[in-house]
Symmetry: C2
Subunit: 219 residues, 2 copies
DNA sequence: CGGCTATCTAAACGGTGCTCAGATCGCAGT
DNA sequence: ACTGCGATCTGAGCACCGTTTAGATAGCCG
């Protein structure tokens, strides 16, 4: 770690000298934060250590983030953007709405696997203090709206019973969040290996189960 | 706060003097921790503050808990005991296995509402460092075994298709954990009030939806 | 070239987890 | 009854944390 950074805002003759004005501190702090979360978990993330990691004094981050929570908030917003674009692509590429619900579940989990550092921060809203940083809740609303529209489409297809879509929405939403939480926290991983599977395969089977239940003829 | 404690191990003539040997420090630290989590969230929980709250020096807790994580681990184990007994009673009082699955979901959420401080700690396994405190994972396994046996019973009743019960188990497990996470973290509460409902009512409807899907005739 | 502003440094404050030498007390053994 | 021992608690100390502040530095605009 502690990679010396020499990115200047303009061309400089001396490539070894660390510039007084860093030039990309904000982005590098976020990147270093994600690296640190991936390597040692969210508990190890401190602004001081991040500053040291990037090669800057302990007070420097406060010119880019109001406080620790603001750094987390930036990571969460970034993660929700990535998540939404992935979910949106999956939704667009699905044949029908019920298949889309299955694929959304799988995509949510695979996003968590591919961007586990982002996800670990996203799952801990108290770190971002969403009450103080409302852009966090706004970013989190987009994936839910996507899910909601998919549930509505599944109702139009007749798979989901007509009426209030919210119970089904909350069911799939909670399922996705819960599975990913249990995955990243350990228990699902442990149980899957004990069962001779992988969490990746398991969410696929869970999602197929949900799809099969939705596709059963209505009584 | 800062309730002066005068519990002596034996009778004492001076009721106002705080005893040198506290007598019930361990239990009181746990109780104060739960109070503090309920009042200010898990982020506010520190051993120093707990010690001050109970009226004891900052080093005293370390004679009862190896470290901060051990305190959290004790809370988690306690919580899982409470949760299991509640779930077990609900399971025993249900007419059939599918109804039991619905009631288990509702009971899980209502436990989270009634013991939110316990649940907030239980949902953050990194606080208890379950790798170092294996009794935590052992305590967490009992509710899952209960769920598993209920899913198996539902298979015997014909509602759940025969075969591997694990996908259905993971579905309900994740659903319960996810809903409670989203509830305690805020977004479900916000969405429900925006919808004119309560999270309590919503989990009932979600659980009924799951039950209805399971009861649909198999294709 | 001069000044303005954003950026960064370094020091400081209070709080945290955790350790440790020493004080204190209950209790078991004689 | 007394003595010693072990469990418990104190209080000081270390390293780290978030955050603030005064002051140094450098890019940029006039």
């Amino acid at each position: 770690m502690r990679q010396g950074v020499d990115q200047h805002t303009d061309s400089d003759t001396d490539p070894n000298a660390r510039p007084y004005h860093h030039g990309a501190l904000r982005a590098q702090l976020i990147a270093a934060g994600l690296d640190l979360v991936a390597a040692e978990g969210v508990g190890a993330l401190s602004l001081r250590r991040l500053a040291w990691e990037v090669g800057v004094s302990s007070g420097a981050p406060y010119h880019h983030f109001a406080d620790r929570a603001a750094l987390f908030a930036a990571i969460v917003v970034d993660g929700h953007d990535l998540l939404f674009s992935r979910l949106d692509a999956v939704r667009a590429g699905s044949s029908d709405a019920v298949a889309a619900l299955r694929e959304l579940l799988v995509a949510y989990a695979s996003f968590a696997a591919d961007h586990s550092a982002h996800m670990r921060v996203m799952l801990r809203p108290e770190l971002a203090e969403s009450a103080v940083h409302p852009e966090v809740t706004a970013a989190g609303a987009r994936p839910i709206e996507l899910l909601r529209s998919t549930v509505l489409a599944a109702q139009d297809e007749g798979a989901v019973p007509p009426g209030d879509p919210e119970p089904v929405l909350h069911m799939i939403w909670s399922l996705a969040v819960g599975y990913v939480t249990l995955w990243l926290d350990g228990p699902v991983e442990a149980r899957c290996t004990a069962l001779g599977t992988t969490p990746d395969e398991m969410i696929r089977r869970v999602a197929s189960t949900v799809e099969a239940l939705l596709r059963r003829p209505r009584a």
